[in-house]
Symmetry: C2
DNA sequence: GAGATAGTTGACTATTTAGTCGAGTGAGCT
DNA sequence: AGCTCACTCGACTAAATAGTCAACTATCTC
């Protein structure tokens, strides 16, 4: 079996943090290696290039995120409450990041996607896949809400894409402004797009 | 007065195009100079660094955009119609860019802002200012619509920020997916956020 | 047409960066 | 014990990149 190590994992963690707190283009392989405490020779032992590492890192990280989403969007929870919970979770998460890094960091997927989509097609595809998956959680909650009669939304997929755009747009605004309060409106906006009355929203 | 030239303008055009079709971080000063047909010495005659050029270029470009917005959001046009027109204009514009560059490019302001906000504070501020201005056009249309009774929106600023987030989110999604059809929903989403009934929307 | 001014040029340096390679090293297997 | 394989290391090259500078040139004003 030979020697074992967690250098690969350290590299993936490092690149995620660097991209998230900075940007893809501004992150160099040397920086990644330094942050991970790994020499460049080892970097190229595990990965072909920066894009390869980033793709693997985002993919791996997505598994963790997916588990979180599975819990938040559990079918055991009433559908509108899932959305509410998701907004709360997101707000809390961004607040924590602001405490940790001094900055609101938004959605790494969206920022990365927007930055590299014209240059790194493999990364672009990965990001697109993950965003599509995110959308499915929303669509499923919307479908359930429609089925239970609390909203009228026969076009769940369309609504889900609308809501995702809004949600990601808000996160990006929060990142640019470095201000979490932008995210206060998240749930309100989502419910108004779904045509939920104020009382229902509070009750959810 | 000495020699005159448009090298400064050529540099600004070049950097806008390169950032837009690619990214800020991936754009080098050499590339900018080559595209503009300007030598590096001249670059540094006009600008201190890439960030300086980018800030100036976006600022200058914003004046053009502002004139377009002034026309689209003319007070002579019924408020909801302004929003509709804006969505149409945006769709057309992105389609044209796709024809020209083979890619949907989204909103350069938003992409740039998201990319550099943690690294280039001067640029970040500029972007934030321009986004805030954009928001004002929306807010004013919403206020007018509220005043004329076609919608109920006493909180025009809040609604405007929501709509901007949605709009920019959609543009970014279109960029990532390289697909203009994403933008088909733009007006529908905006009107549903404003609580406009279908008939009103069509009539607008 | 003489200056002054505004802009141009190319050659240069120093640094950063991506990527390579061959020799080494340590953990587990037999 | 010793072999093997997974991994590490550091020193290297080549290229890209930012930034500088002094000499040059075109145009405008008087």
């Amino acid at each position: 079996m030979g020697r074992v190590s967690n250098a690969k994992e350290r590299l993936m963690e490092a690149v995620l943090e660097l991209i998230w707190t900075g940007s893809y283009g501004n992150t160099t392989i040397d920086q990644i290696c330094e942050k991970a405490g790994v020499k460049k020779g080892s970097f190229y032992y595990f990965f072909d290039c920066k894009a390869d590492l980033a793709a693997t890192a985002f993919e791996t990280n997505w598994r963790v995120k997916r588990a979180e989403l599975d819990s938040i969007f559990s079918a055991a929870v009433p559908p509108l409450e899932r959305l509410q919970k998701y907004c709360q979770f997101s707000y809390q998460f961004q607040s924590d990041m602001k405490s940790k890094y001094g900055r609101v960091l938004g959605c790494p997927l969206f920022s990365l996607g927007s930055e590299v989509c014209t240059q790194e097609d493999k990364l672009r595809r990965k990001v697109q896949e993950m965003l599509a998956e995110k959308c499915k959680y929303l669509a499923s909650a919307i479908r359930d809400a429609h089925a239970s009669g609390v909203i009228h939304a026969p076009d769940a997929e369309v609504k889900a894409r609308m809501i995702l755009a809004y949600y990601e747009g808000l996160l990006t605004q929060a990142r640019i402004q470095n201000d979490v309060t932008v995210l206060r409106e998240t749930a309100r906006g989502i419910f108004s797009m779904l045509g939920v009355k104020g009382k229902q929203a509070v009750a959810a």
